[in-house]
């Protein structure tokens, strides 16, 4: 059996990549994709722990499904916002979306 450490390292790498993307990117779509990466890292963790800690229970796996569903919904919502933003102001750069700023 593959040791759990491998999964955790993979998850950590994915999460860090995602986080870097969120912090460093300015394009809203790319930020959204980075957020997805972070979510998938979490899902890997859930599944890995679920299998290793208690193979009988499905708690972790169910959670993973939840996360995927919510990630899909969130992506849809976020893309909709980004589209509206682009329609109205012809931007997809989050720095320029500063209407609510003081």
């Amino acid at each position: 059996m593959i040791p759990i450490d491998n999964f955790l390292v993979l998850s950590a790498i994915l999460f860090s990549l995602g986080m870097y993307g969120v912090l460093a990117r300015r394009n809203a779509v790319l930020i959204l994709m980075s957020v997805e990466l972070m979510l998938q890292a979490v899902v890997i963790n859930f599944v890995a722990f679920a299998v290793y800690l208690d193979p009988e229970a499905f708690t972790g796996i169910i959670f993973a499904v939840f996360v995927i569903v919510i990630a899909a919904a969130e992506a849809g919502l976020a893309l909709a916002i980004i589209l509206r933003l682009f329609r109205n102001r012809q931007i997809s750069n989050v720095d320029e979306a500063n209407l609510m700023k003081w």
């Binding site: 969120v22 912090l23 460093a24 989050v94 720095d95 700023k101 003081w102």
Partner: protein, 639 residues
């Protein structure tokens, strides 16, 4: 009908007031008859009360009558006492004297007013307020406790405000009314403090007799009592127009003349005298300073008013100064503990002063002129007014055998016997000056050639409503003084005579001393003769003297600049202080304190909002950094 029903005396005019206030406009003749009937009933009721008092007297010891209702009463739980305020009435000889003067003069004045106020647009209102005025004054006189006395006192002041300002469309009348009320109110501050002081250390009651009893038993500390009575005296100062609160009284002549007769001669201003007379046992128990203050204030007022009377040209103002003069004399008497003399003077003063004012009113009514520089020679046109006015003038000057003489002489005898010789001399010199200015008043108004023909032609004697009160008052002013003789007093039914009747403590008789009488008569009569000579005809002699002493005459004409000093004090001190505080309130407390703290909150927000950059990566970075810090903290603390 006895002393226990004496409360009816103020209650009847009070009821008349209530009826007139509500239904007055709907009554025939605007209800003047109701007001007069009410005060007439009060006047009549004085006699059964007097008879009852005399009936119950044991020789010359009078038993006072009292009747009281509870007004406020509650238990002071923790100390087991009861706080009580009564509406109570107390009848003793002093009260009776006051009642007689007030009701009689008020009756005369109201009858006279029917003619005088005829056609005035607020005729009904005049009689309404007159009723309230009479009711308040009678309440003040009859009150058995200091609080009811204070209530009547304030109500009298309020009525005088309404009556002085009766023609409030005139700016000067509105100002005079305001001045009268505020000036007397200044005195009332002291009065109220005095009343509360007497209650505070006293027998837990406002009842005057109990307080006096308590004080005579040595219940109050000496200094405390002195302070309390001096505060009380402050109230008397304001109400009786004594120096330095005399400024309102001459101005108060802005009211209709009958009002002046009632308020500023016969009743309201003597309230202060009455208060001091009533509370005199306290003054006597207190430190001698208290009585000396009364005496000195009286003396100062006597001299000030007599000299100011020399310079005034408005006939009503001259009479107003003579009132101040008389009141000063009464306070001198009280300062010498001579209650009977003061009350006698008050009694006869009520008649002759009302007579003078009503006579002046008759002149004003006939000529519509009250500056004596434009009058003159009216005796030919108005014989009854002139004759009665002459009686009043001579009574005021104090010539034998008119009423003023006997009363004034009593005061002089006391001053000579009991006080420093300076007091006596000052009084004598004031008598001479009184003779001077009263003679001037009469001569300039009624004798010699008229100064303005048109005014003279216009003049005529008033109707019976005007002349009859003048004649009645003239008679009383002429013979009222004879009550000093014990025989007269006894004949009238007062056992032991008038002095016995009003004297509070021990038996006392009027004292008549020939040398004093002669001195005073010579001085007063001499003053009058000199006045006649000076102001006869075109008064060239007086004008020459006036010009020769122009600084003094200017000082007198400007009333010693006391009004100016007050005006300055009000404009430059009180109002400026008010302005400073208002400014402080707006600028310091509001703009700095309130708006300042609001600005601090605003400024903090202004700076703090810069943290909100609005850039998503900044927020994301902050989240990450925060999580990292938390993780490190957890690691460090767990290891």
């Amino acid at each position: 009908m006895g002393m226990e029903q004496a409360w009816l005396i103020p209650a009847i005019p009070a009821a008349a007031f209530a009826i007139l206030l509500i239904f007055g406009p709907y009554l025939p003749r605007r209800g003047d008859w109701l007001a007069i009937a009410a005060i007439g009933a009060s006047f009549v009721l004085v006699f059964p009360v007097l008879a009852d008092l005399l009936d119950r007297a044991d020789g010359t010891t009078y038993v006072a009558g009292e009747k009281a209702w509870e007004w406020i009463s509650f238990d002071l739980g923790s100390v087991g006492e009861t706080f009580e305020i009564e509406i109570g009435f107390y009848v003793d000889p002093i009260t009776i004297v006051m009642l007689a003067v007030v009701t009689l003069v008020a009756l005369m004045v109201q009858v006279y007013s029917i003619a005088y106020m005829k056609g005035d647009s607020r005729y009904g209102w005049y009689f309404t307020v007159m009723s309230l005025f009479a009711a308040s004054m009678l309440t003040l006189v009859l009150a058995n406790n200091l609080l009811l006395l204070y209530a009547g006192w304030e109500a009298v002041g309020f009525c005088s405000f309404l009556l002085i300002g009766f023609w409030w469309e005139k700016r000067s009348a509105a100002e005079a009314a305001k001045k009268a009320f505020i000036t007397t109110r200044v005195g009332d501050v002291g009065l109220l403090i005095g009343i509360i002081m007497l209650w505070h250390e006293g027998p837990n009651t406002f009842n005057i007799q109990e307080i006096i009893h308590f004080a005579e038993g040595g219940g109050y500390g000496d200094t405390y009592l002195t302070a309390a009575v001096l505060f009380l005296f402050m109230g008397a100062l304001g109400k009786s127009g004594q120096f330095p609160l005399h400024v309102w009284l001459p101005d108060a002549m802005e009211g209709p003349t009958p009002v002046s007769a009632l308020i500023h001669a016969a009743t309201m201003v003597v309230a202060g005298v009455y208060l001091v007379a009533r509370m005199l046992p306290l003054f006597e128990v207190a430190d001698p300073i208290a009585l000396n203050v009364v005496l000195i204030v009286g003396l100062i007022t006597v001299m000030l008013s007599a000299t100011m009377g020399l310079a005034a040209t408005d006939i009503k103002r001259v009479i107003a100064y003579s009132t101040l003069n008389s009141l000063g004399l009464m306070f001198v008497a009280l300062g010498s503990s001579a209650v009977a003399a003061a009350m006698l003077y008050l009694f006869v003063h009520g008649f002759f002063k009302a007579l003078l004012f009503l006579g002046a009113g008759s002149v004003i009514h006939a000529t519509e002129e009250q500056d004596m520089n434009r009058l003159g020679g009216l005796a030919a046109k108005m014989p009854i007014t002139a004759a009665t006015f002459a009686i009043g003038t001579l009574a005021m000057i104090g010539l034998v055998p008119l009423s003023g003489f006997w009363a004034k002489d009593e005061v002089l005898v006391f001053a000579e016997e009991e006080q420093h010789v300076i007091v006596y001399l000052v009084l004598l010199s004031s008598l001479a000056i009184t003779g001077l200015y009263m003679a001037r008043l009469f001569v300039r108004t009624f004798l010699f050639a008229p100064r303005e023909q048109a005014t003279y032609d216009h003049a005529h004697e008033g109707g019976a409503l005007i002349t009859v009160p003048l004649l009645i008052l003239g008679l009383l002013a002429a013979v009222g003084g004879f009550v000093v003789f014990d025989e007269v007093g006894e004949a009238l039914g007062f056992p032991g005579g008038f002095a016995q009747f009003v004297f509070l403590h021990e038996a006392h008789q009027f004292d008549f001393q020939l040398d004093t009488a002669i001195t005073s008569t010579v001085l007063a009569g001499g003053g009058a003769v000199v006045g006649w000579v000076l102001w006869q005809g075109k008064a060239e002699l007086a004008a020459r003297i006036r010009d020769a002493f122009s600084p003094i005459s200017t000082l007198l004409a400007n009333r010693y600049y006391v009004d100016e000093v007050y005006q300055f004090a009000i404009d430059r001190v009180v109002l400026v202080l008010g302005g400073i505080i208002a400014w402080f309130d707006r600028v310091v407390i509001n703009d700095r304190g309130v708006n300042g703290s609001a600005y601090i909150a605003y400024f903090t927000g202004l700076e703090a909002r810069l943290l909100q950059t609005g850039r998503i990566p900044n927020y994301a970075l902050a989240i990450v950094v925060g999580i990292l810090i938390l993780a490190i903290v957890m690691l460090v603390t767990q290891v």
